[in-house]
């Protein structure tokens, strides 16, 4: 592994992040709306109060000035101040990031642990009944949007069966096992919704990748050497078939964050996705900038991780 390569990639990331921030800020500035809109429609609040607030938060300055102000603060590690909650943006995000990471992490683990074995088994015996069933479910999984599967799960498991709660509570008044029990119970539905949508794509990908590899000569050679079928599959087929899948997983993670926004809204999961939605609705520019910036950093980071993993799995790929 080449350290120089990583440093170079990180340096290249800087201009793209900068560009992203300029575009984001510009779009937000052009978008209609005003963070103190609600004050404007309320006749009991004098317009001077709104004007004073706008001046206080620098909303009356020209866009480029506001951007430079935001940028210079950001470089110094100051993420800005939320108009809506009068709280530092980094604090707001830190409050919510853990929940998002737990839910997304759990859903990714679920997706991978379902998709890889299913994809491999389906490829070993293509067009068998198992393969047909797996393909059907995969198709359903990636074609149904999360807001639909989410609602269906709520109707079945919360309303009809009354087994699971559909409002996610970050604060649970319990200790020890009960605390974890409650957390797992309320996480089941959001994690399943997100995980299965992911698993659908992964199953299809894994299956075709294994099918590509399994026909290669070296696999036949391995078999003819008398190595057990199980060992051939695990050691020789899966390892090579995983290479494109790993890239896919890494590259898809940012998209998962996007998908999580909807899921978080449905189940009221207090993650950064629901924070982003609320901030967009309230025209709370600093918070929108903060959250979207984190998501774009993740995209850049996971792109890099994908490339590095690629080289690790397949030493023939070199970096320059």
């Amino acid at each position: 592994m080449n350290r120089q390569y990583i440093i170079r990639r990180l340096l290249i990331a800087i201009p793209s992040l900068l560009g992203i921030s300029v575009i984001l800020f510009g779009i937000l500035a052009m978008a209609p709306g005003d963070p103190f809109e609600e004050l404007a429609t309320n006749p009991a609040i004098p317009p001077e109060v709104r004007m004073a607030l706008r001046a206080k938060f620098g909303l009356d300055d020209p866009v480029w000035q506001r951007y430079l102000h935001w940028f210079s603060a950001m470089v110094q590690g100051d993420w800005g101040f939320s108009f809506q909650s009068r709280m530092d943006v980094d604090r707001l995000i830190l409050q919510r990031l853990p929940v998002t990471l737990i839910v997304i992490g759990a859903s990714q683990i679920l997706a991978i642990s379902v998709a890889i074995p299913v994809g491999v088994l389906a490829a070993i015996k293509p067009y068998s009944i198992f393969d047909q069933i797996a393909s059907t479910f995969a198709m359903i999984g990636f074609s149904l949007p999360t807001f639909f599967t989410g609602l269906v799960l709520i109707l079945v498991f919360s309303i009809q069966l009354d087994w699971l709660p559909f409002v996610y509570r970050a604060d649970i008044n319990a200790k020890g096992w009960a605390f974890y029990g409650e957390h797992i119970k309320q996480s089941i539905m959001p994690v399943v919704v997100l995980g299965l949508a992911q698993a659908g794509t992964l199953v299809r990908f894994m299956r075709s990748s294994v099918l590509d590899v399994i026909r290669l000569d070296y696999v036949t050679t391995a078999r003819s050497k008398g190595i057990g079928e199980r060992k051939v599959i695990v050691r020789h087929v899966v390892r090579n078939a995983l290479i494109p899948v790993v890239t896919l997983i890494a590259l898809q993670l940012p998209a998962v964050f996007g998908g999580a926004i909807v899921t978080e809204q449905i189940f009221r999961v207090p993650g950064i996705g629901s924070l982003l939605i609320a901030a967009i609705q309230a025209n709370d520019t600093p918070v929108v900038m903060g959250v979207t910036f984190i998501i774009s950093c993740l995209v850049v980071l996971f792109n890099l991780i994908a490339d590095i993993l690629y080289g690790w799995l397949d030493p023939r790929i070199s970096f320059r």
Binding site: A44, L92, S158, A278
Partner: protein, 596 residues
């Protein structure tokens, strides 16, 4: 209703011939709010109502966790910064005002020991001062005593322009003086019939001086207590995640005995109104859900889940159609709908009358809003469906045709009426919101039968309600003939509310469309009446003037009221709570309890 009649009614209440509630209902029928009615009684010397307590629990605590859903969660917890009712509702867990408005518009003492009244001399007959006696047993959550200094401090804090408090309007016009440790006097420069504004209700919550004194004015946003409230309320602060969660635990030293019932409270935010209704009505996961702007049909279906009930609380919000008095299609000095123009067709009173006859309010109520939007005739609300003697509404296509025919509007070859080459073609805009689009369709259909062609336009809410000067589609610009939205009456007194028809308040390019008068109606008689009402010392005369103002707006068809929009919430079947349309949903949180 004139002044004389009003005085007679007040006399009847005084002598016990008429109940307070009946009086309030009559006042509402002519367009006044319930709190306004009870204020009239107070100043006339009728003793305040003694709100009956329905509270049954005999000891403090033991009720477990109270779970409430605000699908837009509070984003800040300093009541003086509150942007919307959600923030006020959240702050109300921890902070109390001196007094609060109950559902009938009566004042209920909170931090005050009693309500100022004429009988004990605490309310001046000239309406220029009121003395509030404070409870003496109140401590802040950190153990410090609550005194008159705190009350005076809140006035100083809110009126300071550098603080930019959203409550400023309630404190700018008065002077607050400490009389002794437990009483304060609120003084007004001019007679103020509506004296119970500062320190009362939604904008009256009191914050502690000892924690905010250092952070007054420009430094206000740095106060650590902004995010960690220390109040006097039934619950003490535990946790706050803006937009997601406000959590509190029981205040063991709450100033009223045996209250509150619940050991802790959790106010959860996020999601949408329908799923919030579902969590209370259908699955029973939550005890209470706020502001359910959902079609009544859906609410009724969810209610069949049998876990909760829908609670309707009448207030002052009203969905109305505005008729432009200026010409939206001609540009003068860089603005359309300029005061220098006159609407080519809507300036004819007959056309206005015809349009008002074509709004089928009963169908709109029946098929669209249901319980969540009773049809109304008055601009100022009319909750209990009392038919006013002066203003009434009817839906009558034939009559509309007749009125137009008489005024010389003849149907052309295309079925659209015209006169002097001007056709009755209108653009009718509103924000995107399903009930509104359905209402538009109902109006359009009826108008067609009367030979009026209406083109419907819907604008995204975030654009429509924005104050963006550059955007032509905002409601304040009103660049079309008709428009519809809900105007909120955030204050029980009509003075602020009725300013939206004063000529000098017209929204124009000059004032960056900040003027409150969106219809740009210019009427000298209204202005004179309004100005006279503002300086009227006699509260009864003043009330009569506002009734007159309301009549002028309706009889001139400046706006067409459609339905009033009461507060809609959902409560679990076992939960006992009182929701007031004149105050926050959580105004009486200390008295909430569950049946065992």
């Amino acid at each position: 209703m004139n002044e004389k009649e009003m005085r007679r009614l007040i006399g009847e209440v005084k002598h016990g011939k008429l109940s307070r509630r009946a009086f309030a209902q009559r006042m509402m029928a002519v367009g006044l709010s319930a709190p306004m009615a009870t204020q009239l009684l107070a100043i006339a010397g009728v003793a305040h109502a003694q709100p009956k307590s329905q509270y049954k629990p005999t000891k403090r605590g033991g009720g477990g966790l109270l779970k409430v859903l605000w699908w837009q969660g509070p984003t800040l917890l300093n009541p003086h910064f509150a942007v919307g009712t959600k923030d006020q509702d959240g702050s109300r867990l921890f902070y109390d005002p001196l007094a609060a408005w109950d559902p009938d518009g009566n004042l209920k003492p909170k931090l005050a020991a009693s309500i100022p009244g004429r009988e004990d001399g605490t309310l001046a007959a000239d309406g220029k001062s009121a003395v509030w006696k404070l409870r003496q047993n109140v401590t802040w959550h950190d153990g410090k005593p609550f005194t008159a200094d705190d009350v005076v401090f809140n006035w100083e804090y809110a009126k300071d322009p550098a603080t930019a408090a959203t409550t400023a309007a309630s404190y700018n016009e008065c002077v607050v003086e400490k009389i002794d440790q437990y009483s304060v006097m609120v003084k007004f420069a001019k007679a103020t019939p509506f004296w119970a504004d500062a320190f009362v209700g939604t904008r009256g919550m009191i914050i502690p001086k000892h924690l905010f004194a250092e952070y007054s004015g420009a430094k206000s946003r740095e106060a650590p207590t902004n995010l960690k409230p220390v109040g006097t309320g039934p619950y003490m602060f535990k946790d706050f995640k803006p937009g997601d969660l406000v959590a509190g635990v029981i205040n063991p030293n709450f100033y009223e005995n045996n209250k509150p019932y619940f050991d802790a409270i959790e106010m959860k935010g996020g999601g949408d109104a329908i799923s919030a209704a579902r969590a209370v009505l259908q699955s029973g996961e939550y005890d209470f859900a706020w502001n359910l702007q959902v079609e009544d049909e859906i609410l009724a279906r969810l209610e069949k889940g049998g876990k909760g009930k829908v609670v309707i609380s009448p207030g002052g919000n009203i969905e109305h159609i505005q008729l432009n008095t200026t010409d939206p299609w001609t540009e003068v000095d860089g603005e359309r709908s300029s005061l220098k123009t006159k609407h080519p067709t809507l300036s004819d009173p007959a056309v206005r009358q015809a349009i008002s006859l074509l709004v089928d309010k009963d169908s709109i109520e029946k098929h669209i809003y249901g319980r969540t939007g009773p049809a109304t005739a008055n601009f100022v609300n009319n909750p209990a469906r009392f038919v006013s003697k002066t203003t009434k509404f009817e839906f009558n296509v034939d009559k509309a045709n007749e009125v137009l025919e008489k005024a010389g509007w003849k149907k052309g070859a295309d079925g659209i009426r015209e006169k002097d080459g001007k056709k009755l073609k209108f653009v009718y805009q509103t924000s995107i919101n399903q009930p509104r689009q359905k209402t538009q369709a109902i109006v359009k259909q009826a108008a067609q039968k009367a030979g009026i062609d209406i083109e419907l336009k819907s604008v995204t809410a975030s654009v429509f309600f924005s104050s963006d000067v550059a955007n032509p589609d905002t409601y304040t610009k009103f660049y079309c003939d008709l428009q519809m939205y809900t105007t909120t009456m955030s204050q029980p007194d009509p003075e602020v509310f009725m300013v939206q028809f004063a000529s000098y308040e017209a929204a124009t390019k000059e004032n960056k469309w900040q003027g409150r008068n969106i219809t740009r109606w210019q009427n000298k008689a209204y202005d004179d009446n309004y100005k006279a009402a503002q300086s009227e010392v006699d509260p009864v005369k003043r009330a009569a003037m506002f009734v007159e103002a309301n009549n002028m707006v309706i009889n001139n068809y400046v706006v067409i009221p459609v339905v009033s929009r009461p507060g809609v919430s959902a409560s679990g079947l076992k939960l006992n709570n009182s929701i007031s349309g004149w105050d926050n949903n959580t105004w009486d949180l200390s008295d909430w309890y569950k049946d065992a």
